[in-house]
């Protein structure tokens, strides 16, 4: 283990990789502050630029951006009550109230400290748990992989914001898009019509940039830019007081554990972990009535949890080769583009990449702690960037970036098409996340399913004959059952309430 960690640090300290850590963290923090540019859009805009990089450097850069965005998103939550990214929604509740009371500095300070501790705990779990899980995962066959990917998609649809049926439709569209092109087993062309471009399938960057970049910009045009109220341009003393640190110690400890565990769950991600942490802190608080009025525990816990979960979500990627959230799935596609198959063999076949990425995350975590506090003043200046300038910049940068994938305008049209799709999905409440994840996981899922069917003589029974896949099916069935049961119960409760109001009214 020691040799592996040393190998990792020797890779991470390579000048190019060190530069990637610094650039990624800085870029991430800046982007996290800007509204309309989340980690998914930023990473997808940068994907074409990483094609020319070494895969290890590319992943280090993108991992730095991911961690940086998580830090940066807090600044707008606290100062403007406008979360820079989804996971910071919870921080906005008490963080903004703290800022209104003149305590923006300690709110940002405790966020940075909590984020550092949460990410460190998750990194330790990643260092020790991922190789062990990879050893176990080597024993998994196509039936288990197929069921694991299927369960992952189900959980993402189930845990995501919005109606389950809409998430299932979105995931089905993503799975369908993954089938466009040549059949991976028979080589037959599927759903390509007369298009030669479609034979190679659709490019993930064009689809993601369309859905998240262009779709989000078009959606944001529905309303004129509203001026959010900046509580204070002076943040003051950032370092929290002794009392703040004492009050935050337990929430940070709990947030670290909650976040690390939630990051391992498909679809868990930052928002779910910060919501769970906020709920836990309210329950444990001596004065729960303080929550929503500027309780530092309501900032420390959720911020710790969302950074811990974004770090621990690398565990399933690096050990199982299955991404459990959209941002991580983009890193998965970078590895695939570079001819590296993420999975249990990554640790033995590409130890420099595996350990190099982990070591760079340790470095990035320290860089973020050191840089984020002094940078707060500069970040406030970035808040002044007008969306009217940012929107066309995102559009032209996305489109030219998409063009550089293969120097062909075809992908620009694909991005525009998915921009319109993303726009309407947002209006009608179909989450774009499951679509992207299903699109990226589609190939793996289909290949594993068909390999499983070809392996056995009894068709679909193979999934019931193997204990691993049987257990995963049982969990999936339970999830669908629970989702249906809760929908029926909610409908009954609503019908009852309507009938009662009619009765009272009459």
């Amino acid at each position: 283990m020691n040799d592996s960690i040393l190998l990792g640090f020797s890779v991470a300290l390579d000048p190019m990789n060190l530069l990637a850590v610094l650039a990624g963290c800085l870029l991430g923090v800046v982007v996290g502050v800007l509204p309309g540019l989340g980690p998914i859009t930023t990473i997808s805009i940068l994907l074409p630029f990483t094609y020319a990089m070494e895969p290890t450097t590319a992943i280090i850069l993108l991992a730095g951006i991911y961690a940086g965005v998580m830090y940066g998103g807090t600044v707008t939550s606290v100062l403007l009550k406008l979360p820079g990214e989804a996971a910071s929604v919870v921080t906005a509740i008490d963080g903004y109230e703290m800022a209104r009371k003149g305590r923006a500095g300690p709110a940002l300070g405790i966020s940075a400290i909590g984020s550092f501790i949460g990410a460190t705990v998750a990194l330790i779990a990643l260092t020790f748990f991922a190789p062990a899980l990879a050893e176990l995962a080597v024993k998994l066959g196509p039936p288990e992989y197929a069921m694991l990917a299927l369960l992952g998609l189900l959980l993402i649809a189930y845990l995501g914001a919005g109606a389950f049926a809409k998430a299932v439709v979105a995931a089905a569209i993503g799975l369908f898009l993954a089938t466009v092109g040549l059949d991976p087993i028979s080589g037959d062309a599927r759903f390509v019509g007369d298009s030669l471009q479609l034979l190679d399938g659709m490019d993930v960057v064009a689809v993601v940039l369309g859905l998240f970049g262009i779709g989000e910009v078009l959606f944001s045009l529905r309303e004129r830019d509203s001026e959010a109220e900046l509580v204070s341009k002076k943040v003051g003393r950032v370092w929290p007081t002794k009392k703040d640190l004492r009050d935050s110690a337990a929430p940070i400890a709990r947030g670290s554990v909650i976040g690390t565990l939630v990051g391992l769950v498909p679809g868990g991600g930052g928002l779910l972990s910060s919501l769970l942490s906020y709920g836990a802190e309210r329950r444990f608080a001596k004065n729960p009535e303080e929550f929503g009025k500027g309780a530092i525990q309501g900032v420390a816990g959720p911020e710790t949890a969302n950074n811990a979960s974004s770090t621990s979500s690398f565990i399933p990627l690096l050990s199982l080769g299955i991404p459990f959230n959209v941002t991580i799935s983009l890193l998965f596609s970078v590895l695939l583009i570079n001819g590296i198959t993420p999975g249990p063999r990554l640790v033995t076949e590409n130890p420099d990449l595996f350990w190099g990425v982990i070591a760079s995350m340790y470095l990035g975590n320290v860089v973020l702690l050191i840089l984020s506090l002094p940078l707060v003043g500069l970040l406030i200046q970035i808040l002044r960037v007008d969306m009217a300038v940012l929107s066309p910049f995102i559009i032209v940068l996305s489109l030219v970036g998409v063009y550089t994938i293969d120097n062909n305008t075809w992908n620009m049209w694909v991005a525009l098409f998915f921009g319109v799709v993303g726009y309407f999905m947002r209006i009608w409440g179909f989450p774009p996340g499951p679509l992207v994840l299903a699109f990226i996981l589609g190939g793996l899922l289909e290949t594993s399913l068909r390999q499983s069917l070809l392996l056995g003589d009894e068709g679909l029974l193979i999934f019931l004959q193997r204990p691993g896949s049987l257990a995963l099916i049982a969990v999936s069935v339970l999830l669908i059952g629970a989702s249906t049961f809760s929908a029926v119960r909610k409908r009954r409760a609503q019908t009852g309430a309507v009938e009662e109001s009619i009765h009272v009214g009459s």
């Binding site: 914001a161 529905r222 032209v396």
Partner: protein, 165 residues
């Protein structure tokens, strides 16, 4: 606000009108029809058997899931859960038109005019910025993109009518 609560909000505001109900059912019905089209397409590819799966088997499974989920949404809408309205669409339509224009100008005229024209028009039509700020901002964006893509990356741009990309 989550979609579920948004949907509930629509329910709670009283029964939706006939037009809203038709629109709310029409969207998932169209989606369901797309699912059925995929079903037909996958059957045409050949589903094979579970021991010898054909290229259409997996798309067939996807199509079934897609159609069933769309039917569930249509049923919900029919029972009264209205879809959120499309709402104001003039500004997004302008944004879409400018994005389309960018691709066309980029393809047939070149990178610099495409970025200059589209970013200036975007800021003029979709914000209250002064011409002075618009010119400074669009020139800055154009210069940034030119340096990044043409000089640093050395992208081969489409044949341009201008001597520079």
């Amino acid at each position: 606000m989550s979609q579920q609560s948004e949907d509930v909000r629509y329910r709670g505001s009283g029964q939706p009108g006939v037009k809203t109900r038709i629109y709310s059912v029409a969207v998932p019905v169209v989606l369901g029809l797309c699912g059925i089209a995929l079903l037909v397409g996958s059957l045409a590819l050949g589903v094979g058997t579970t021991n010898e799966p054909g290229p259409g088997l997996w798309p067939f499974a996807i199509a079934c899931t897609w159609t069933l989920a769309a039917a569930a949404i249509a049923w919900e809408s029919f029972k009264g859960t209205a879809l959120p309205p499309v709402g104001p669409s003039q500004r997004p339509a302008v944004g879409f038109g400018l994005t389309l224009a960018f691709i066309l100008i980029f393809s047939y005229i070149g990178l610099i005019p495409a970025v200059l024209i589209v970013t200036s028009a975007w800021m003029k039509l979709l914000s209250d910025m002064s011409w002075k700020r618009i010119i400074i901002a669009s020139l800055t964006i154009t210069a940034l993109l030119y340096i990044l893509f043409a000089i640093i990356i050395g992208t081969a741009f489409p044949a341009s009518v201008l001597p520079i990309p």
